[in-house]
Subunit: 202 residues, 2 copies
Amino acid sequence: MDVATANIPVAISARHVHLTQQTVEQLFGAGHQLQQRLALGQPGQYAAEETVTLIGKAGQLQHVRIVGPPRSRNQVEISRSDEFVLGLDAPLRESGDLNGTPGLTIAGANGLVTIDSGVVCALRHVHMSTADAQVLGLKDQDRVAVEVDGAGRRAVFEDVVVRVAPDFRMELHLDTDEGNAAGVTPGMQATLLMAAPSGETP
Amino acid sequence: MDVATANIPVAISARHVHLTQQTVEQLFGAGHQLQQRLALGQPGQYAAEETVTLIGKAGQLQHVRIVGPPRSRNQVEISRSDEFVLGLDAPLRESGDLNGTPGLTIAGANGLVTIDSGVVCALRHVHMSTADAQVLGLKDQDRVAVEVDGAGRRAVFEDVVVRVAPDFRMELHLDTDEGNAAGVTPGMQATLLMAAPSGETP
């Protein structure tokens, strides 16, 4: 199989939570507004100043970043390594696909909230704009493979979900297990591996 | 490139330590002998009943298994995820290649030992017998690629070191980050991806 390639910035998603405004206020006080610490790669998304502690049956994870702005549902994204620390078994899911997922207790500076569901291990995915997707011959929910050339740990990840929206910026999102397994370091780029467009004969 | 394939049992190496007999006695008492809990895949190797706690600047890891029998040097094998918990930066190394590696403190039931070096993140590797290596056209220290077909997380790991000895059993050793990143479950097999032997024209 011949492949065409495209380079993609890699972002490692450390464990983080998305919270509703109601949950933010339960954890940090009535009327509390998340404070932006750092803008993230996707437009409008930011790492908040506020962090929480995740409390599972087997252990806790402290200083877990909140990613804002607030959403319509609470969602906790952790790695498989994190699952062992907490003592729970979260399924591999796309963002927002939360039915049947486990819950846990979240602690903030001023309160505790226990959620019944919302804990996932995020499926690796690549964000791209509608325009970029068109150039690459891809559409939302396609699956692609990417090669990551980390020092001493080169790897090809298959089963990467394509997520397309008009304002998305091209970015591969891996979790910390995936980033570690491929030796990802800051600023690294991945290579999108694709079948040659039909009709092209190299 | 055409490939020939071979199936290989996958073993996930959770964090563990190899200790000298002297260190075993410092941690568990004079004259203490490691007790075998479970035989491992490679002949003579076993998970001991005894566990230790690893103590780093940033945190601790408890219930870390000792792999016996005792060796001539202390060696601590952890994942990158573990490194963040402990607060140290261990290099990617082959077993036994310990020059310039960091140390930490190890706690046993009856004592503490601080080692100056010996902490590594183990390079992924595949054990095979001399006979199997000959059949596959491989030799010790070759690098190969393996495909792991974990549910929803298929991956190809390159930079896999081939380790050959007369009594080795065919087995791919990944650390927990790598196992998690590829969705490895107990009993899974990997596929060795190899260039077709020279002279073979499929």
